[in-house]
Amino acid sequence: MKLEDFREKQIARAASDEELREALEREFQVIGRRLRRTDGLAKSSGRATFTDDISLPGMLHAKILRSPHPHARISGIDVSKALESEGVHAIVTGSDMPETYGILPWARDEYALCIDKVRYVGDGVAAVAAVDEESANEALDLIEVEYEVLPHFLDPEGALAHPEMPIHEPKKPDANGNISKHVRLEFGEVDKLLEDSEVIAEAEYYFEGTTHTAIEPHCAIGYFDTSGKLTVWSTTQVPHYLHRELARVLDLDVARVRVIQPPIGGAFGGKSEPFDLEFCVAKLAMITGRPVKILYTREEVFYAHRGRHPMLMRYRTGADKNGRIQAVDASTILDGGGYESFGLVTTYYSGQLITAPYTMESYRFDSTRVYTNKPCCGPKRGHGSVQPRFAIEVQLDRLAEALDIDPIELRRRNLLGSDTRTVNEFLVRSNGFLECLGAVEGASDWKEKYRQLPYGRGVGVAGSCYISGTNYPIYPNEMPQSAVQLQVDRSGRVAVFCGASEIGQGSDSMLAYIVSEELGVPLDYVRILAADTDFTPVDLGAYSSRITLMCGNACIDAAAKIKKQVKTAVADGWGCRPKQVALAGGWAFDVKDTDRKMPISEAFNLAEAKFGTLGATGSYNTPKDIHGEYRGGTIGSSPAYSFTAHVAEVEVDRDTGFVEVHKIWIAHDCGRALNPVLVEGQMEGSAYMGFAEAVMEQHIFKETGLHNAPSLLDYKIPSSLDTPELESLIVESVDPVGPYGAKEAGEGPLHPSIPAIANAIYDAVGVRMDRLPFMPPRVWKAIQERAEREKAGGLAPWKQEPGRTTLPAAGD
């Protein structure tokens, strides 16, 4: 095609004169519009190439032998018979990779495969690479492992009581090896203020463990090429950290390791650290010289886990007679499972992240994470704070009732506000929580419903806040947390290279929107190459809701540099000042005379002629001076905090205990919605996930240490028929540090679902559900117990009595 034809084609695609004049009226051209995802069609039509879709010539398939014991010493492994099995190419065991790994550099406590000890049923012991999975499976049966079985602990109480039987060697000689982390922090005079409080809510809460249930199981492919370079394709959401740990464990030069993250079928925190399969495919590829793939079975995904910690939380919350929170005293036991994972951070988060959106005069938390012989817990959407958020929001509901204050009003009376610090010294800038409360109150007709719906129906409210990334990276360093490199082609196409992980949340799309906004190119002129460590600058990964804020700012930074060059070059030609030139809608045009314009590609060509090849890097780093001035004060410190409020409306079946959640109204302050459709998607997905944990999910174990139900048939997540109507209400507080004012939207909106449902159940039938999940047997039992207390005269009937007088009694 001739250049002239190109020009015609581009002009045909570009904005019309009228649209350009309209564009001048708008603050943004792309940001804030309801646009498609850049990867939406490929994924929804099944054409995206996921990791397991990749097949390389000569590829072997590997399987991992797993421990059948929850706790045992390995006294011997014999792989000789397995090696002779048909189709087997290589076998590795723990001693082939004798270097520890872990996501936190100061807590590396895992081996790629266990060397001396297994710590849960499913812990990896050996891996076989063979011509196909069947051959690998057959060989697994031939590996002989001698175990010396040890007593095992499935709950923290048992593990705490038996320091003589440590799951891990104690870090200090006198320490209990079953304690993974203990944190105690106090802000203000908690005991005194509790004593002075008008009312105190006191209760014990239990949050059952849950797992992520991403639909795509973990998968990895290793390839060791002739030049001695290792490439690993993996379903990871942290390619950079995986890159580092692979090099460490395999003893390779970091520069000779490449990690590529293909499109991912969901992660939710379940793929945010290295797993045994990545090391095994790498090592087996190095041994065999062939590509090696491992795809977890669904059962193995349940064993890999790293899901939500079960937490036992004892809370006391005191308020004055006006409902102002005087003191919160929290004591929490975290059931960590067999390893550390992010455990140190989880332990801090279990206390650090509930100090907003409310003011509190004083606050104390004491959190202990305990090892148990179960799959390791870790970060799941809303890392560490979903559980305590359940406790504190139900506590507030109790206080509101005791003081006869509407629970929304009680929350208003404790507003933290903006440009302030929390009781634990975190800096909060933008804060749209008040607007969130108002939005759900209005949309749900709260005032007409609260305590006024008939028996069996109820509404509940809850609020929350969450971080938009963490100010401090996982391994201490001064380098940027996120970086973007742009490269501009003469055709007008812009390539974006970025280490950020698209895990379904829309990070690739977000980058495209920003480039399109800044450089005026049509959206489909933007190409994203993400998460390939050979070609993309470092981004630390998709965790703690950091990407929009950090990567978005890095992208604006890079685009601004090119924008400046392009505008300067065009302005020189027109003899005007650069700021008179605008880039939008596929044009460079004169803001004073929109008839003067040229296709954006011509503008790029002018800039390239003037400045040389167009390209730029941009980066974002967090402020390193914003945190609490105490040990641990950096954990939970974020550049910006998002805020959420939910109202849930439920119907409780008195006779059966079934809880039907009819609707959840979700108001979320995301700073600015870069694309409202994606923000709403995150809000709905979050509320759904919280709802699932509230009514159904339980990641539990049988006494033998076996997982109760490692399948998607028996581990219950709600079907579409079970899912309530979800109404998303976006609140935009426009944060001063977020890109265009944006904050996170992927995790925060999950938090209030659970306490809002718990509070709604109370409003419906007058029972406090302090233990998750709210399954029919539990709710039914609570209703029975209340009925007995009512019968004994200890309680007035809740709302009006239901019509039916005879309850079909059990044990009759």
């Binding site: 059948p68 499976n137 199981p217 076996l706 028996d714 028929l721 029919p776 079909p808």
Partner: protein
Amino acid sequence: MLRLHPYVYHRPRRLDEALELLKEHAGDVLPIAGGTDLVPNMKHGLFAPGHLVALRGIHELHGIEERDGELAIGAAESLTAVASHPLVNDHLPALAHAASLVAHPMIRNQGTLGGNICLDTRCTYYNQTHFWRQALGFCLKKDGDVCHVVAGGTKCVAAHSADTPPILMALDAAVDIASADGERSLRLSDFFTADGIWNKKLERHELVTRVRVPLPSPNLRATYTKVRERKSVDFPLLSIALAVELADGVMESISLIVAALGAKPRIIGGLDKIAIGKKPTDDVLEEVAKQAYRQCNPLDNIIVEIEWRRAMVPVYVRRSFDAILAEPRATA
């Protein structure tokens, strides 16, 4: 992913060919219809036959027709077909309803009525992968010799978990059974046994070929209720089939079946005295509900508390009555 073992897949076109294959490979063969239960079970290592005989391509196993005062349904008809067929909906809406409650739409498109009737019993210690069961030390039903549900138990108590048999039993259905050696029929009420390992009076080389249900009298009202955690996908935690003939407000016959407890759907006995000849008043129905409660003892074969499952028996018996008394045409 979980892999299947190698097997020879036979696709006979005629019933006699299928029956011959089942006889020829006896001990190393299983029939496969929709495969929605068998395939995952084979992936779990619960069955590893060298031969599979596919049934859906056999013409004689299809067809839904009214004849001789009965509705006859071919065993290879899909559950979707049973749920949506006009004849079933006209004459046996409760059966159509039960079929519509099995699993989810894709499984109903694939799964068959015969397969549902012959569904293997289920247990939390059995429907697991080979790795899991091996770590457990296996169980009575497969590869082991202990029961993990009943300590010291010598009889498998895996749960009957199919949705269509209870209502078929309440509707007095019979099944036609064929083998290379001949044909026979059996009332479905006599079909199941209390042995969780193989809870059917069906030889391994026999096939259920057809289900026959008497066309009900105009007075018959029937309903099927399934209690499950989710509104789709799940097997029952408890299921109740109820059929009552109601003339001039008086109960002339009653059939109440409670399933998903043990290996055999429980036919609640002693109801004649309580209910027959009486009006369905609150007192009478309460007695029926209590009778069902007394006769039902759920076990820990399903991972939901047995105390609750038992307490739900009378609740859902009452609700089943509520349903048939409120909307006779919708359910009868």
